[in-house]
Amino acid sequence: MKKIKTTAGFMGTSEQKEKLIAMIAEHKDIKGSIMPILQKAQEIYGYLPLEVQQIISDETGVSMSEIYGIVTFYSQFVLNPKGEIAISVCMGTACYVKGAKDILDRISANIGIKPGETSKDGRYSLDATRCIGACGLAPVFLVNEDVYGRIEKPEDVDDILKKYTES
């Protein structure tokens, strides 16, 4: 079973909460408004953790299981925030055959979270993505906006990551 969990600690602010509640109040009497509410909630927080879904459930009366069902049905919704250092490893075919899986595993071991997760302190996030259109550079991974290609062996990622972790 694909387990999806929010792994980052919740760090919502009271301003965000106020905004969320005001936004829900505006929408909740409109039929079928749960989709726009979830979209706007994600705009406010950047993702939809348990705490946020619980507020939406309490305010709208839509059950948690229904909300969670919608959130996991549509790929536009995410359960984890992007980390300050957001790493994504391309798993497209070209990258895959050139050892992307080993790179992913190396990074995962290095920063201590699994793909799809965000570290508890919100510093790192790790994703496995589809082809990012840089197949000529395969295997490829991204740290925030920076592209790293032609990684020869998995150990090479260590030095790259150091640049970010030590700053």
């Binding site: 079973m1 969990k5 059950s63 969670y68 069902g69």
Partner: protein, 610 residues
């Protein structure tokens, strides 16, 4: 409404215009197979097992959702229909863990039967990648095995639409879709009330009760343990269904006979503690009415209630014999906890008084008693483990194992007893069969009626004015409506009562009490629609029966009939009840009664724990 003409398999029929193809065909004595469809609550047209051909239609419609129209020509069994149904079924089977031989629903499974009926020739035709799931069995009452789940969503509909609780739903999409709780939390970590309505809705072996039969067999095999059993009121009108009987068949005699043959040392009827509950609860009602100024003249017939013993809870008094309802109240309506009767349920009262009073009579050490209840309810498994359910103390539970009707049936089959051939026997005479009032506890409205019979007596004919202490039949609170209301006259005061079954109706009623729209003094609530006769631990009937027959009405009728035939129909007239108060409890609501037969509750919150 004027009828319309349609053709089914080339024959003409005149039918009501607002039917679906499925309903119209049923009237024409044609059963169309269905899997996902549940009348009124799950018309999602997703399994596509109910496909039919309609002349001039572009594709095959799903009979469960497609309305009929004038002149429609329907074909239910063409080769094309058969081929499509079979293919759809084989697709479902391709991601199904088909270990029928060891499956809990072997021989009662709708998918299995359908595979036989539709003649599946290759269950591995679409074999491919399969989803992998862990068995989830850490809930007090319910086990989920998603490797058996066919994603028909009937459980989701039962929880969300029927009960309006909605703690389970569909997660993810496409091939990855599974059924579970938000954030993949375990059922024990969400505000599930353990009612088991999801179980009786499930066509396959994906949901079932937590089995306690092994523990019972083990105790039975131990010569040093005294194993006693009591059967709840509704079991006598449902157990027969597990052995091919019609819904509602009355099998009390066989029930007593079979429990004796299973080797229990004491075989009793829970009607006795239903009567005991009535005594305690009717007293509590009169006390609360007095305390809250409803009976300011204080004219009580036989006895005056000393001030210090007056129960100080508010009105309305709400019954507490349905543990699913109690859990619901604790999760969702904590503001009504003070209204709950402090009476333990009949199941718990039985274990409690057996391990105290009767243990003494029998010369037994309560430590060596293993007390089993046979119940219609999965929430009773949870109740048995609650704190505050130990009359003896020392961690000795009132009830050691609570087994559902289905589990008892499994024990009987394992033991090789031919149920049909059993003679009618009686429960053990130490604790004789209870009154008619006890019997009707098994149906929505029954606890109210039983309590009113005794409250009418306690109020010495004040109820309904004049000589109505003799009133026995409180028809007003019978029947299959979700919410029933009635008013009775006591002197110059009016006592208002209400009965709700199913938590969706309970929610409606409680909200209208909260808003002041409904003004009531005494309320009966049962978590399952129709009450115990339709409990989550009762025999599972196929969806064909559940969609088109009023199962619980059949079963309830049978209980009312038994009540009618009983010589004693009021709890307070039972010689056994009188004796127990004389020898042991003193009077209803006495300190010793409170210590043994009453309990307490606490809010549980609604949050999900992950």
């Amino acid at each position: 409404m004027s009828k319309i003409k349609i053709k089914i398999n080339n024959r003409e029929y005149e039918v009501a215009p607002n039917l679906t193809i499925l309903e119209a065909c049923r009237e024409a004595a044609i059963d169309i197979p269905t899997l996902c469809y549940m009348k009124e609550i799950n018309a999602i047209g997703s399994c596509r097992i109910c496909l039919v051909e309609v002349k001039n239609a572009r594709s095959m419609p799903a009979a469960c959702v497609q309305p009929i129209s004038e002149g429609m020509e329907i074909f239910t069994n063409t080769p094309a229909v058969q081929k499509s149904r079979k293919a759809n079924l084989e697709l479902i089977l391709s991601d199904h863990n088909k270990d029928c031989l060891s499956c809990i629903r072997n021989q009662t499974c709708e998918l299995q039967k359908m595979s036989a009926d539709l003649g599946v020739s290759d269950e591995n035709r679409f074999k491919g990648k399969m989803n992998e799931f862990e068995l989830e069995d850490n809930h007090s009452s319910i086990v989920r095995d998603n490797s058996k789940c066919i994603r028909c969503r009937r459980c989701i509909a039962a929880c969300a639409e029927l009960q309006e609780i909605s703690v389970i739903g569909a997660i993810n999409r496409g091939f990855d879709t599974s059924v579970g709780c938000a954030f993949e939390a375990g059922l024990k970590d969400v505000p599930c009330i353990a009612c088991g309505q999801c179980i009786v809705a499930c066509p396959v072996g994906a949901l079932y009760e937590k089995d306690e039969t092994e523990a019972v067999f083990k105790a039975l095999a131990d010569p040093d343990i005294h194993v006693a059993v009591c059967a709840a009121p509704s079991i006598r009108v449902t157990l027969g269904e597990c052995f091919g009987g019609k819904p509602g068949e009355f099998v009390e005699g066989k029930l007593a006979a079979v429990l004796k043959r299973l080797g229990f040392d004491g075989v009793y009827d829970m009607d006795f503690t239903a009567d005991l509950t009535v005594m305690e609860e009717a007293k509590e009602l009169v006390e609360r009415l007095t305390k809250n100024g409803k009976l300011s003249d204080g004219k009580l017939s036989d006895e005056k209630i000393p001030d210090e013993k007056i129960s100080d809870g508010p009105l309305p008094l709400i019954t507490s014999c349905s543990p699913g309802w109690v859990k619901y109240c604790e999760h969702y309506f904590p503001e009504f906890i003070a209204n709950l009767s402090t009476c333990k349920s009949p199941q718990q009262m039985f274990g409690a008084i057996y391990k105290t009073h009767f243990a003494k009579k029998l010369g037994l050490d309560p430590k060596n008693i293993f007390f089993v209840s046979v119940i219609p309810c999965t929430a009773k498994k949870f109740e048995a483990t609650r704190e505050g359910q130990s009359a003896v103390g020392d961690g000795i539970r009132d009830v050691d194992a609570a087994i559902t009707t289905r589990e008892l049936a499994r024990m009987i089959k394992k033991y090789g007893i031919n149920f049909d051939k059993l003679p009618d026997e009686k429960f053990d005479s130490l604790i004789e069969t209870g009154t008619g009032a006890g019997v009707i506890f098994g149906t929505s409205g029954g606890v109210m009626e039983a309590s009113l019979r005794t409250a009418a007596y306690l109020l010495g004919g004040h109820l309904l004015g004049g000589s109505s202490a003799d009133k026995i039949d409180f028809e007003e609170v019978r029947g299959d409506e979700g919410i029933k209301k009635a008013s009775y006259q006591i002197g110059d005061k009016t006592i208002n009562v209400a009965v709700a079954s199913g938590t969706a109706n309970a929610k409606k009623l409680l909200n209208s009490i909260k808003s002041g729209e409904t003004n009531v003094d005494f309320v009966e609530i049962m978590a399952c629609p129709g009450g115990c006769v339709n409990g989550g631990g009762q025999p599972v009937q196929p969806i064909r029966v559940r969609n088109f027959e009023n199962l619980w009405e059949r079963r309830a009728e049978s209980l009312y009939k038994d009540d009618q035939n009983k010589e004693i129909r009021k709890s307070h007239e039972s010689p056994l009840i009188k004796a127990v108060y004389e020898e042991f409890l003193g009077e209803p609501g006495s300190p010793i009664a409170h210590q043994i037969l009453h309990t307490h509750y606490a809010p549980r919150g609604k949050d999900i724990k992950v």
